[in-house]
Every structure is written in C-alpha cells, then in structure tokens.
Symmetry: D2
C-alpha cells in the first residue's frame, strides 16, 4: 500500500513550512454531528485549512474520497485548472443518507505528495422518534 499521511499534530508544529505542508494536503470534514434515521446529510470536504495547495498540471489535488469505516461512499475527481491554476482549497460536497451511525474519514490524493487522510468524524444517527440534541425520546 502507498503510505498514508495524516496531520494529527501539524497545528502544534513550530515550523511554518511543515505546518503549511501538512495543512494544505489534509482534508477536513464539515457536517452535522447527528441526524435522524433516513434524514439527508450534506457532507463538505475541504482540502487544506489555513494554507493553500497549488493547482498545476504536475501538482494538484486529483481526488477526494469519503469513507465510512471500510465502505467508500463517494469520490470526486478534479482536473488541473479547475481552481484557476492558482493556489486554493479544493472543496467538494456529497449528499449521503446514513442508516446507522457513521465514522467518516476523507482521503485526498496529491499527484506529487501522495495520499492524505482527515481526522475521523463521528456522525450519530438517532431513531426518528428521538431528538439529536439530547438523545431522549421526543414527547
């Protein structure tokens, strides 16, 4: 398997070059923490947070995948130039309808620096009679 890179600790690095390198490759998942069974969940994945990634023919973010544990939910491909050939942050969105609670991970692939994984993100799925806020039955 290709090596998988992650950036658990980049925020705390004293070295800005290193912080930049890790940050701009790392996907970040944004979505609700809890949905009711059968409800739609729109999941956004952005690659990079404070730093930007090049969009050049020999160096670009080529794909972003969204996994729930060992299951691939969806995947978006980019082509060089879609971000205007200037540094930026790939951002993709996927609608999913979870049946049970999920443990999401996003992966992004840079054509020069390989495969990177996000921090995991738990999404709780509660019964339609329950309330996401307090997990108590709604009266």
């Amino acid at each position: 398997m290709p090596k998988i890179f992650s950036a658990d600790s980049f925020q705390h690095s004293d070295n800005e070059l290193k912080r930049d390198y890790f940050d701009r490759h790392t996907p970040v998942i944004e979505c609700a923490d809890c949905v009711k069974e059968g409800e739609k969940l729109f999941v956004k994945v952005r690659v990079g947070n404070a730093y930007m990634h090049p969009d050049e023919g020999d160096h670009y973010i080529a794909y972003v995948q969204l996994w729930n544990r060992e299951t691939l939910l969806a995947e978006t491909r980019y082509y060089p130039g879609t971000l205007g050939n200037v540094p930026g942050n790939v951002e993709v969105g996927f609608l999913v309808v979870p049946k049970v609670s999920m443990n999401l991970v996003a992966m992004s692939y840079c054509t020069k620096h390989g495969l990177w994984q996000s921090a995991p993100r738990m999404v709780k799925v509660v019964h339609e009679n329950l309330d996401c806020k307090n997990d108590n039955q709604i009266n």
Copy 2:
C-alpha cells in the same frame, strides 16, 4: 457514442410517468450567475427535481460530471447504498475558480437508463473592477 438523453420539455408533458422518468434522471445546476475574476464559485448539481431516483445495486446514479463546454471540470462517483438504498436525489458540490465566462453542463449516468444532460447554465465572469449586478465599473 452512447445516446445522450435530455429533458428539455418534460415539464410540459401530460403523462406523469414520462415526467417522472425524465425528471428523476436529469441533473440540475445551481450556482451564481456571475462572479468576479479569481473568485470562488461553488456549483451544486442535483439529479432530479420533483421526482426521486432509486438507489439499488442494479439501478443507481453512478456519476455526475460538470463540464464547461468541452472541458471536464470535476466528477463525482456514487456507490449503491450511499443514499440509504431508498429513492432520493443525488446532490454534489464542486468548488471551481473560473478564469473566463463559462457555459456549464452537467451529465449524470444511471446504470440502467444511461447518460443524461442538464440544461446549460451560463456563468459570467467580470473583471475585478466591475460589478456583477450591472456590469458597470464600480466607482
């Protein structure tokens, strides 16, 4: 080439079965009509409008592509079950940074009923000193 289906006229059909068939396969593009040069544009594509599409192993929307004229900007793949194995509407989002005005078209592929195209959507890109509203120079 596989036949390309589109649904220019489905809204006006008297036959609901036909309206349903066309509607649930047809991608719809949602985005701003105008951005300034170098600005980000988040483009959403939803498959189906008033009607829903199955999400079964032998019948699902497998991909959505976003084209600007003859150039493919990005593409999202779905897998059976991502929409909970119940009828629904695939929805994907892509960030793009246009350099010049675009004529977007989305394509969606159903594993049973082939390739479908959206209505075209023009996005005007104006110089950074201009205003999207009236195309006049900002004073």
Copy 3:
C-alpha cells in the same frame, strides 16, 4: 453536452497535421468478433494509431471508457506522467463477460481537446452449442 469528436474520415485527409490531430485522439478497440455465451472477452483500447499523443500535465489523455450501447462497462483513468511524460499511446485492457451481442464504443478524454469516440465494434455472442466461425451448431 460537450461536443463529441470522431474521426471517421481522418484516414483519407490529405493534410498530415489534420490526420495527426484526429488519429492521436481517437480510441481504437481491439478484441475478438465473436465469443460463446459466458466466455471471457479481453478488450484492448488504444488511443491513437499511427500518431502519438503528449503526456504533459496540462495535456494528456485522462480517461478511456468502454460502452456497450447506453451501458458503461468500465473506465480507466490515467495521470500525467504514467507514459513517462513523452508522446505515446495510452493502452488499456478490460475483461468483460457479455451475455448478449454487444455494440462497443470507446470514448477517450483529452484534457485539452475534449471527448473522442471510436468506431463502433460489434461482438457477436453465440449460444454455447454454436460455433463462432460459422454460427452453425457444432455436431
């Protein structure tokens, strides 16, 4: 829909630049003309015949699809550099097991010059008791 290019007549052009342009973008299908029901068929698709295509970051063959009429059978993605960053001919192979006779078409996508289609290729599927050679029952 993006325009679909094909090259039905490029062989007969007097203009070598034009012949080159059409030839190096056009996928060519190579496979048996007939198989027995349930038999494996290995299909090769090569992009370009007599002329070669660049393999550069801003100009490369990004994917090859194999369609049977309106059904997508398989698709291969390339990345810039896989052909050594020198002009060449993408070549991919797919195993398929046809149930009924097929009318194959291959599509290739160049990041600079769009979507191209091959000539169609018929593959006859005969009953396991028949012979591909003469379509007569084997005694």
Copy 4:
C-alpha cells in the same frame, strides 16, 4: 483510513473458506521484471487467483488501482454486470512507461469487503545500453 487488507499468508491456511475469502479479493500483478528506459510495459492486474468473486449489484469489485510507491499510475472502474453477473475474476491492463525502477502495488476495492492490496512487485528499469537479462552492458 479504511483498514487495508492483504493476504500474505492465505495460501497456507488450512481453512478453505478463509483461503477463498482472501484469494478472491486480492489483486495479483503480472508484468515483466525488467524493461529498458523508455520502453513500454503492459501491466495486468487480476483480482483473485484460484477463487472467483461475485459480480452482483450489492457486491462487486468496483475499482483496481496501480500504484508505484506513493504515486497513482492508473485506475480502472467496473460496474455491476460487466462480468455477466456471475462469479469471475476482474482483469485489467495498463500501459506504463517507467523512467526509473518501480515498486508496484495494486489495490482493489470490494463494495462489501473493503480495500485489498497485492504483494509488491519490483520492476527494474535499466539504461538503454544495458541488457535486462544480466544487467551487463551490451557489446
């Protein structure tokens, strides 16, 4: 990251069910061990060796990737039914033109049982004046 499965030891298992499970998910790389610089190399990847994998809507091999260390060279997608909806072995081929010696790994993704990796395969690339057989200069 989703767990990555491999099957280093399945051949020696006494349990046939287990051997079957591991074998039918594991990609196997077939190609030459050595090429000259600039020479074409056709790489075949087959999923499964002695055992076959289902080709059903909710259970199929959805993609095969070919990596050289941390670089993705190419990737093939399958759709349910391309192998005739009967158990079989996905088989794909990619042409690559290596610049330097490679350490190939193939990955395959099963929609039910996740991501699997092949045994690594070294491909030596020798200077065009050398001979693959003995690595000695050709006189």
